[in-house]
């Protein structure tokens, strides 16, 4: 059914595109948030992606590749949002993303904080690979297809991302990171 919707939307059917957008919107938001770690920017990225998808849909040759194509648009939008965020965002100290849930130990909260800090040190392209693999559960070859980059590039980015996050988890808790110096690539 999705292929038919894509073909309709490609021909200019706004109803078909609306249905596609509704079906994809939640996942796009989830991916964008996990890459950008900022809900507002993630929403902006998703909005940009959907508008761009509508505009460029006639150029999509194979409707069966709609999901991968859409993911690629989203990742590019996330890259743009990541670059834009560096201009006017005031430096703030990172706080844990969520309040401790009932039963969460201090160690769990600290773990989240360490992962968050480590993740924010990753450039957007490494974040995207990490999210597509660990959140969406795609294999590395599938990640390469979705991001439109060579498999070797994906493996390299995953290697560096994993090393950075492992190091963040093993960091000495007595040496806090200065969050204000963390940068995006």
């Amino acid at each position: 059914m999705q292929i038919a919707l894509v073909e309709q939307a490609r021909s200019g059917s706004e109803e078909a595109f609306a249905s596609l957008a509704r079906g994809a919107g939640d996942q796009l938001l989830a991916i964008a948030y996990r890459i950008l770690r900022d809900l507002g920017r993630a929403e902006d990225a998703v909005q940009q992606t959907l508008v761009l998808a509508w505009r460029e849909l006639p150029s999509l040759r194979d409707p069966a590749r709609f999901d991968a194509w859409l993911h690629r648009l989203l990742v590019n939008a996330c890259y743009r949002e990541a670059r834009r965020g560096r201009r006017w965002a005031a430096n703030v100290r990172l706080l844990p993303m969520d309040a401790p849930a009932a039963g969460d130990s201090l160690a769990t909260v600290v773990l989240r904080d360490q992962l968050e800090r480590g993740f924010r040190r990753l450039p957007p392209d490494q974040r995207a690979v990490f999210v597509f693999h660990h959140y969406l559960g795609l294999t590395l070859p599938e990640v390469a297809t979705h991001l439109g980059v060579p498999l070797g590039t994906v493996k390299s980015r995953m290697h560096y991302a994993t090393n950075t996050l492992r190091a963040a988890l093993e960091a000495d808790l007595r040496s806090p990171v200065d969050a204000s110096r963390e940068r995006l690539a």
Binding site: Q8, S11, E14, A21, R22, L29, V46, S59
Partner: protein, 346 residues
């Protein structure tokens, strides 16, 4: 004996946390904007009629599945808020994010690249190529997929009334003629954002009128040297001269912003002034009205300093800028009747 946590499990559990639902307002906004956006079609596809439909957000569950696809040729037009239509030009080439199709004509950006060694060389060659309308020379200096947006501002309010784009710097589709640089540009290098930034005062002829304004473009560092990337040209109503106090006006806005005095900032700006963060769609956020007030409020902790000598061209002023969060760039303003009508920070 303790076991080391499994990294993959930790990562997956951490990533599982966080929002997973797109807010309706975001979806509605996207569909509204898409409704106002024309689809871009590959060149050479046969005509088919495009059915008009109700706005996206009202297209609820009542969709039925029918068979296959139609493609319609899309004519580019103005994306501005109104006013005279942009001149017609050949349909743009596909954006870099789309899949290539056999029916597309070869993109102009396929030419071999000849990066410049320095920004001075890049600027010299770029404006020589623009002036002589040498497409090959221009595309040899352009990043693949680089787009050029031209913004003409309204004579009273600074609102953009005409916008057109020249994909991949194909001068055959560029309506600007007799492009001539006017002196030296402002150049900002070593930016934390990674790309150098240039603001060049220039004149050109468009529809038999001589226009004055600025080119603002990013410089991309590639193997072998420098290429120019995303570019925007800004020009105002021909024949207008800028307020003699233009530099004092932008400095007053800067001082008020640094002081966190939102009302004083807005007092330096016209009632429908706009602030653009970024250069050209879609890589741009635009703020006006209450959104502008909110933007100023939330960024008032960031202090701005100017460096060097501001440049004036037509009704525009450009100033090299440093923000206290480390960002370095160029602020571009249009001044009308003693007020800032447009403020751009790429």
């Amino acid at each position: 004996m303790s076991t080391k946590p499994d990294f993959d499990s930790i990562a997956a559990a951490w990533l599982a946390e966080g929002p997973t639902e797109l807010a309706d307002r975001v979806l509605d906004a996207a569909l509204d904007e898409a409704h106002r956006t024309r689809q871009r079609h590959p060149i050479g596809v046969p005509w088919r009629a495009r059915s008009m439909s109700t706005p996206f957000r009202f297209a609820a569950a009542a969709i039925t599945v029918v068979a296959v696809a139609l493609l319609a040729v899309n004519f580019p037009g103005t994306a501005g808020v109104g006013g005279p239509a942009a001149p017609s030009s050949p349909p743009p080439t596909a954006s870099p994010t789309t899949e290539p199709t056999a029916t597309q004509s070869p993109t102009p950006s396929a030419a071999a690249k000849a990066p410049a060694a320095t920004i001075d060389e890049l600027v010299d060659r770029l404006y020589a190529a623009l002036h002589s309308k040498d497409t090959a020379a221009l595309q040899a200096l352009a990043v693949d997929g680089a787009r050029h947006a031209v913004y003409s501002t309204d004579g009273l309010t600074g609102s953009v009334i005409t916008t057109f784009e020249n994909a991949s710097f194909n001068v055959a589709t560029d309506p600007l003629q007799d492009v001539a640089r006017q002196g030296d540009p402002i150049v900002v290098t070593d930016r934390p954002e990674g790309r150098d930034l240039v603001a060049m005062p220039l004149t050109f002829t468009y529809q038999d009128e001589i226009d004055t304004g600025f080119d603002v473009f990013f410089v991309e560092r590639v193997p072998g040297g420098l290429l120019f990337g995303e570019t925007a040209t800004f020009y105002g109503k021909p024949g207008l001269t800028i307020d003699p106090d233009a530099v004092a006006i932008i400095d007053a806005q800067r001082a008020a912003w640094n002081a966190g005095d939102v009302d004083a900032v807005l007092a330096t700006m016209s009632s429908d002034a706009a602030f653009w963060e970024g250069l050209a769609d879609p890589n741009r956020n635009a703020y006006s009205g209450e959104a502008l007030r909110a933007f100023i409020e939330t960024t008032s902790t960031i202090k701005t300093t100017f460096s060097g000598t501001p440049l004036i061209s037509g009704t525009f002023v450009a100033a090299a800028t440093t923000l206290s969060n480390g960002s370095r760039g160029i602020s571009l303003y249009e001044i009308r009747d003693g007020k800032i009508a447009l403020h751009v920070y790429p």
